[in-house]
């Protein structure tokens, strides 16, 4: 026993400072036994931790999650598919006009590029002749 422990015993003693109501221990066994369920029923009756009976919603929770995931996938699929179809349709309708305008667009592009590079026609012809 070290110094601190000895000092503690001198100061506080070891007497139990707690009390119980009159007759508490005499009635304890009867009270405990009255609360015990029958052994064969205990699996259903005894709340071991804080297990409460599951509500229907809680019991169905995994299925609700699965359903929510399925719906989400279906909605995303439909959205994606309809978007793709709409894009294809718009591409198809514009492709006809595009073929007509392609030639115009290309020459316009060359003109713009020539302006940007400050080339005149003579230089372009000279460049083409060299290659």
């Amino acid at each position: 026993m070290n110094y601190e422990e000895k000092e503690m015993q001198v100061r506080f003693g070891k007497e139990n400072p707690f009390r119980v109501p009159e007759g508490y221990f005499d009635q304890l066994a009867d009270r405990v036994m009255a609360q015990l369920p029958e052994r064969d029923q205990q699996a259903e009756q005894i709340p071991l931790s804080n297990h409460r009976p599951k509500s229907r919603l809680v019991a169905l929770r995994p299925w609700l999650y699965a359903a929510a995931c399925t719906i989400a996938v279906v909605v995303m699929g439909i959205t994606f598919y309809s978007h793709e179809t709409a894009e294809e349709q718009s591409l198809a309708s514009t492709s006809i006009t595009n073929t007509n305008t392609n030639a115009n667009t290309e020459s316009q592009y060359i003109d713009d590029a020539a302006d940007y590079a400050m080339l005149d026609n003579a230089e372009i012809y000279a460049y083409l002749a060299e290659n």
Partner: protein, 183 residues
């Protein structure tokens, strides 16, 4: 209870026709000493009573899990300590959530308690013990009041004797420091 008595009791506990009667004997034999250990940890009589009832319900429902690798008293003490510490953790959490008045003080609470007979110094000792971490608190109460051997404590808490001795000495040191600060 002698080893032979305990052996006979264990046989009756495993017999479905006799186990209820045998369990009543267990409650009568160990109820009081388990109550005091629980009470020293949870401090209030009503809480100790609730925890003790839970300990016996748990022991009864897990009777098949007790494989006699330890003594019955060791197994019951282990359940009692675990249930008490579990109760304190839940109480601590609910106090932190529901009240701002955490500083009301264990000593003041005990002095006002009808089932606490100690003086102010003893109430302060309980407050100092209350501030210890779980293991130190358990080891201190088992050793200081019950004078339990470290070997038995080691079986209950499944911790080495060396570590328990260290926990006890740290607990004593912290309690001394608690009073040195106040003096």
């Amino acid at each position: 209870m002698t080893k032979q008595d305990e052996q006979l009791l264990m046989e009756q506990l495993s017999d479905p026709t006799k186990q209820r009667k045998a369990f009543e004997q267990v409650v009568r034999e160990y109820g009081e000493q388990l109550y005091w250990q629980i009470r020293r940890l949870v401090l209030i009589h009503e809480d100790a009573d609730d925890v003790l009832q839970n300990v016996f319900i748990k022991a009864w429902s897990h009777l098949d899990d007790f494989h006699q690798e330890s003594r019955l008293s060791t197994w019951l003490y282990r359940i009692a300590v675990n249930e008490s510490l579990d109760f304190l953790r839940k109480q601590k959490n609910s106090t932190m959530i529901h009240t701002d008045d955490v500083e009301s003080g264990v000593a003041n609470m005990l002095v006002a308690d009808n089932y606490f007979d100690g003086d102010e110094t003893q109430a302060l000792l309980q407050e100092a013990i209350d501030q210890l971490p779980d293991v130190q608190r358990t080891v201190f109460t088992l050793r200081y009041y019950d004078e339990m051997k470290y070997s038995e404590m080691s079986r209950i808490l499944k911790t080495s004797e060396g570590s328990l001795k260290a926990s006890y000495h740290i607990a004593v040191k912290k309690i001394s420091e608690f009073f040195n600060h106040r003096d």
